[in-house]
Structures are given as structure tokens and as C-alpha cells.
């Protein structure tokens, strides 16, 4: 597709003259071939035909010359006396004169029509290009794509060369190293003025290139330089402006979107932080108070306390402190998981192994061995962060130990393309209205003062989701709760092609 405003014809003057000569020669040959059968009028008509063809295909001067040539040739070859430029009959004079005028008029008309249709086609192409560019730009997400699309559109629309440069602050050009200093200066100047420069614009008409800013004053996102520009090509300038307006719009939209996103994530982050603060202040204060109380009692009243009393206080310090450490661990982990800065350290892991390691740790708080684990043989491996999975399962078991008295069942099952880790207790259960809320970071509804898992379950769910899995709560038949952690299994298991 050719958008360029100048037609191909004018690029080949020599070829055009050859076409004129060939047309005249063909008309003359036809005239001679038909000489015996037709009158002079018909021969004249053949020449008129040649002139019309020339007028339609070629420029004005060439078609005019063709008309003069046609009259001359008719006179020379066919008007009696033949083979001379003399004209015998007055009637033939009038005929020749009329033919010359007709040829010139037709040529003039045809050239006009052709130019108009050319302009119409050019405008149509330009409109189509604008439309295509607009629809292409509506789908892009990064400014580099605008650069590529814009450059391609400019190259297609103008003889050029064209340059498209973006800017962040309205002054500094990005990736402009390959450009001539004059072009860079022009771009910078048009961005500073936020106005179009160059021939036909009224500003800096002495230049041989148009410089167009992308965007309005104060919102300039880049600039375009179209070289080989002419003052009389007003429609070309309009087209360049239209293209630049589209590009500027797209760039501005991208900028708005990104600033909106960052504002959104900032708001989310702040909300999360305030939730964390609330969580921390509650979950840390209570155990700290217990520790300080017990420790200061030991410090000041040790002599009055019985040995068993001292033992109890020491035990409470240790258990409160270890609770504090769990809360801190969970908080830090949840923060780093939700801030998305942390990459999961995934590897091929065996859930049986992770469960074994968790149990070894949790058993210290489970002297009566209330937890019963059931792990089927030959479970597939999962691609996971083992430390996080261990933290998830450990939190679920800790909660079950804390909130229930009876036996706790830890079961692993392969269900389709996923492994389900279920922790079932016989605790009081969780009211249906709160079954989702307990997974929110610190929205524990009971104000009874009982210490909760705080961020524990929120962290568990975040870990599950980070692994493409799920953590769900359902009531257990016969009383109690069941937490189901589902972790997807890769269909492609690692090979066992071992030495």
C-alpha cells in the first residue's frame, strides 16, 4: 500500500516521453493500416484517442505536447497534401485547430480528474491508516510498542526519513543517539514550545522538515520529525498532526494507567500495613505483658515463691516467648509474601517429608500424641517452597492443638491432579458466618480476649495461593473443623533416570 502523496508517474520523465512517442507512433501506424478503408475524420479520432490516453496517464505538459504532436502528425501523414506540413483545404485547417483545442481540453480535464482521484485515494488511505493505528494503539500496554507502531505508521505515510522519540520529563530525549544534532535540536525545541515547527506551519518555515510534539503543553510525551517536508503539502501536515495526536493519546493513556496502578497498590499496601499494625499491637502486647509479669515476679519475689510456683512462671515465660516468635515469623512471612517482592524458592519436594519434619517440631507441643497422621505411599512430588509449606502445615496443626482437645487427624490424599492435606479436629467448630473472615489478615471477630491465630490463617491462605493451591475450611461431620489445603501436582514428574 502506498500512502505517499506524489504519484509514481512524475518519477520517470524519460519513460513518460517514450510513452508519448509510442502512443503517437501507434496512432500513426493505425492510421496507415486503416488508410484504405476510413476517412480522414476517423484517422483524426485515432489521434484523439492517443491524446486522451496520454492525458489520463501522464502529466499536463506531456499530454499537451502529445496533443500538439498528434495534430502535427495528422497534418504531416494524412491531411492532403500528404508528407508535407502544408494544409490544402480550409476545412482541414478548422479540423486540425479544433482537434488541437479538444486534445488540450481533454488533457487538462483528465489531469484534473486524475489528480483529484489521486488525492481522494491518498486521503482514503490516510484515513484508513489513522483508523488502523488507533485500533492497534488501543491494545498496547507498554510505551515501547507505541514507539514501534508510531515509527511504522510514519514510515508508511511519508517519504521521510521520519524519527519518533519519547521523553519522560518533556526535555530529555530517550534513545536519540542515532539522530543528527540538528534533528535533536528541532525535536527538543518543538517539545519545549509544544508547537509544530517547519515549512507551512508559520514557525521556522526555513526548515526542510516538520517537527511535531506528542501531546499538549505540560503533557509532552515525545516528538516526531518528518524530513523532506514541503510548505504546500498542507494535507500531509494535517495527516502528520493526526498521527501524532493518536500516538500522544496512547502514551498519555499508558502514563495514566501506570500512575493509577501504583496509586492503587500504594493504597493497598497502606491498608495492609495498618491491618498488620493492629494485628501486631494486639498479638504482641498480650504475651509481652505475660512475660514481663512473670519475669518481674521472679526478679522481685523469688524468695517468697515456692519452687513449683517459680517453675510455673518460668514455663509461662518460655511458652509466651515461643508464641511471640511464631507470631513474628508469620507476620514477616505474610508481609513478604503479599508484597510480592519475594520469589518462592521452589524445588521438587515430597509432602511426606515436609509433614514428617513439621511433626517432629510440633510433637514438642503434643506430648500426648493427639495428632495422628495418615500418609499414603508413593505420593507424587510437588514443585513448592518447602519452608513455606512447612509453615502452613505447622500453623494448621498448632491451631488445632490450641483450639481443640480431642484427637487431631492429619491426612494426605491424592485427588486427581492435586494433593489434599487435611487437618481435622474435634474443637467447637467455627460459625458459618465467620468461616471466610478467619482467613482475612486479622479480622478475628471474637472480642472475648482469647488470643487467636492472628495472621496465621491469612498467611496459610497466602502460601496456598502462592503455590496455585487453595486453603478451605469446612465443618466436620460430628463436630469440629476441617482445613483442606490443596496443592496442585505437576503432570510432568521429574524423571528417575538415575545412575
Amino acid at each position: 500500500m502506498n500512502f505517499h502523496p506524489v504519484s509514481d508517474a512524475s518519477h520517470h520523465p524519460v519513460r513518460n516521453w517514450i510513452v508519448v512517442a509510442l502512443l503517437l507512433a501507434a496512432a500513426t501506424t493505425c492510421g496507415f493500416l486503416l488508410d484504405r478503408y476510413v476517412s480522414l475524420t476517423s484517422q483524426a479520432m485515432i489521434y484523439v484517442l492517443a491524446v486522451v490516453i496520454a492525458a489520463y496517464k501522464l502529466d499536463w505538459i506531456e499530454s499537451a505536447i502529445c496533443a500538439v504532436g498528434a495534430v502535427t502528425a495528422l497534418n504531416f501523414f494524412f491531411v492532403p497534401p500528404r508528407w508535407t506540413f502544408e494544409v490544402e483545404n480550409q476545412e482541414h485547417f478548422i479540423g486540425l485547430g479544433t482537434m488541437l483545442v479538444v486534445a488540450l481540453v481533454i488533457s487538462r480535464l483528465a489531469t484534473g480528474v486524475r489528480r483529484e482521484s489521486e488525492i481522494a485515494r491518498l486521503n482514503e488511505n490516510r484515513a484508513r491508516q489513522l483508523q488502523a493505528l488507533a485500533s492497534d494503539l488501543s491494545n498496547i500496554t507498554v510505551s515501547e510498542e507505541v514507539l514501534v507502531l508510531g515509527q511504522r505508521a510514519l514510515d508508511a505515510a511519508f517519504v521521510g526519513p521520519c524519527s519518533l522519540i519519547l521523553t519522560q520529563d518533556g526535555r530529555k530525549l530517550e534513545h536519540a543517539d542515532g539522530l543528527a544534532t540538528a534533528v535533536q535540536d528541532g525535536l527538543r525545541c518543538c517539545m519545549a514550545e509544544a508547537a509544530v515547527l517547519g515549512p507551512g506551519t508559520g514557525r521556522w518555515p526555513g526548515l526542510d522538515a516538520w517537527y511535531l510534539p506528542l501531546g499538549d503543553k505540560g503533557h509532552v510525551t515525545g516528538a516526531v520529525c518528518v524530513e523532506s517536508a514541503f510548505a504546500n503539502d498542507a494535507s500531509g501536515l494535517e495527516h502528520a498532526k493526526a498521527l501524532c495526536a493518536l500516538l500522544a493519546q496512547a502514551l498519555w493513556r499508558l502514563r495514566l494507567t501506570s500512575s493509577m496502578l501504583s496509586a492503587q497498590s500504594e493504597a493497598q499496601r497502606q491498608q495492609l500495613q495498618s491491618t498488620f499494625l493492629a494485628a501486631i499491637s494486639h498479638d504482641l502486647r498480650t504475651p509481652l505483658a505475660a512475660i514481663v509479669g512473670a519475669a518481674s515476679a521472679l526478679q522481685t519475689q523469688r524468695d517468697k515463691l515456692s519452687l513449683s510456683e517459680q517453675e510455673r512462671l518460668l514455663g509461662s515465660i518460655v511458652s509466651e516467648a515461643s508464641y511471640l516468635s511464631t507470631v513474628t515469623e508469620n507476620t514477616l512471612q505474610l508481609m513478604s509474601l503479599t508484597s510480592s517482592a519475594q520469589q518462592l524458592r521452589r524445588d521438587w519436594e515430597s509432602l511426606e517429608e515436609i509433614v514428617g519434619a513439621v511433626l517432629a517440631r510440633v510433637r514438642q507441643r503434643d506430648p500426648d500424641r493427639r495428632i495422628k497422621s495418615t500418609v499414603p505411599e508413593d505420593l507424587p512430588l510437588v514443585k513448592a517452597d518447602p519452608v513455606l509449606l512447612a509453615q502452613l502445615i505447622g500453623n494448621l496443626l498448632d491451631n488445632a492443638l490450641k483450639y481443640s482437645d480431642g484427637a487431631i487427624d492429619l491426612t494426605l490424599n491424592l485427588e486427581g491432579q492435586a494433593i489434599v492435606v487435611s487437618v481435622e479436629d474435634r474443637g467447637p467448630g467455627i460459625p458459618e458466618a465467620e468461616q471466610e473472615a478467619i482467613f482475612e489478615p486479622y479480622s478475628r471477630s471474637d472480642q472475648s480476649g482469647q488470643r487467636g491465630a492472628g495472621l496465621g490463617l491469612a498467611l496459610c491462605r497466602a502460601i496456598a495461593q502462592a503455590h496455585g493451591g487453595q486453603l478451605k475450611l469446612r465443618p466436620r461431620t460430628g463436630g469440629g473443623s476441617v482445613f483442606d489445603f490443596t496443592v496442585p501436582v505437576d503432570v510432568q514428574q521429574p524423571g528417575k533416570e538415575l545412575a
Partner: protein
Amino acid sequence: MTLRVLVVEDDREIRALIQSSLSVEGFEVQTAVSMSEASALLRHDPPDVIVLDLGLPDGDGVQLVHEVRKHNAVPIIVVSARHQETQKILLLDAGADDYLTKPFSVGELLARIRVSLRHRGTSLAAAVTVHELDDLRIDLASHVVKRNSEVLHLTPTEFKLLARLVRSAGRVVTHRQLLTDVWGPEFTEHTHYLRLYMAQLRAKIERDPAEPRHLLTETGVGYRLAVA
């Protein structure tokens, strides 16, 4: 002879706590608050055990481990927070002997020190060849593994893996170390080999493979053969 421990820890409270707990147990305790102080002390008078805290203000500890390992085999126990997994593994691979995750109890620290001292100088002394705990008996020299006096049949790779753990019994051996020593240095990324072979070994050795007594998992770090 009194055993000497160098504690490298920048937090005053923890340093004081470790110092007093170890002194009570009869160790002679030196302390350093930074890497540079630690290397100065080491050059001057090397201790019998080093307890090294991660996250000191003036370095990540890897350099210190390399420096120590150039001269001698003094056991190094790394103390780290849970989120310092990567750094901890780096230090273990660089030659540190074991690690403890904060918060730890004094009992755990003493147990780790005891294990590491037992291994002290294994490069010179005769290597540990027999391992016994509860119902399990492993004799590396005669290639015999017994559970309740019943001989277990292990594949060559299973035995190699078990033997590597026996030689570091009680200490953590990182995934990388195991893969390098059993399969070869080009297999360090193939952790799934370990998962599969450990599962096989546990199935043969453990009474309850899902809750192992002998072959313990150090989640995200490596494995440890229990000694007590």
C-alpha cells in the same frame, strides 16, 4: 582440658546469654561482636568451636568460614533467623558444620556443640564407620545395615547416600553436598533424586516413614542422621 568456644554475635543480650550458659557447662567462652574482631581473635588464638551469628554488621560470614577452613577444621555452628535460608545454606556449603534457627534453646545449642566436637578432626582421625541408634545399626566397613538384627538390602546408591549421612551423623548435610558426594558435582540441581531415594531409604529403615526417627529432614536445607 577446658574446651574453648568463640561466640560471634552482635546482640549484647544473646551474647551474654550464650556466654553464661556455656560457661556453666564448663566451656571457656570468648566473644566477638563483628567479623573483623572474630578474624583477629582467630588469627591470634584459634578456639575449639565457633558459634557464628548471621547478619553481623560487617559481613555475611562466608568469607570468615573460608578463612577458617584454610587453616583448620574447627567446628563452626551457624545461628540464623528462619528467613535466612539461602545464606545459611551458602555457609554450610562453604564448610560450616551445622546450624541453629533463632529462637533456639540452650539445650539445642549444647547438643549441636557436642555433636560437632565429636566430629572434630575427623579428617585426621579414623572416620566413623559404625552408627548405632535404637533398632538401627549401620556398619560402613562391612556394608551391613541391620534393623532389629535383621539385615536390610540396600541398592548401591541407597547405601552410598546412607553412608554419606553416617559420616556426618548428627550434623546437617546440605542437598548440594549430598548430591555432589553421591551422584557427582554435575547433579547438584537434581534435588528430586534425593526426595525419591530418601523415600526409599525411609521405607526400608524407618518404622514409620511418615514420621522418621533416623533420617530427619531439615526443611529447605538438607538431611540429618539422628544420633540421639
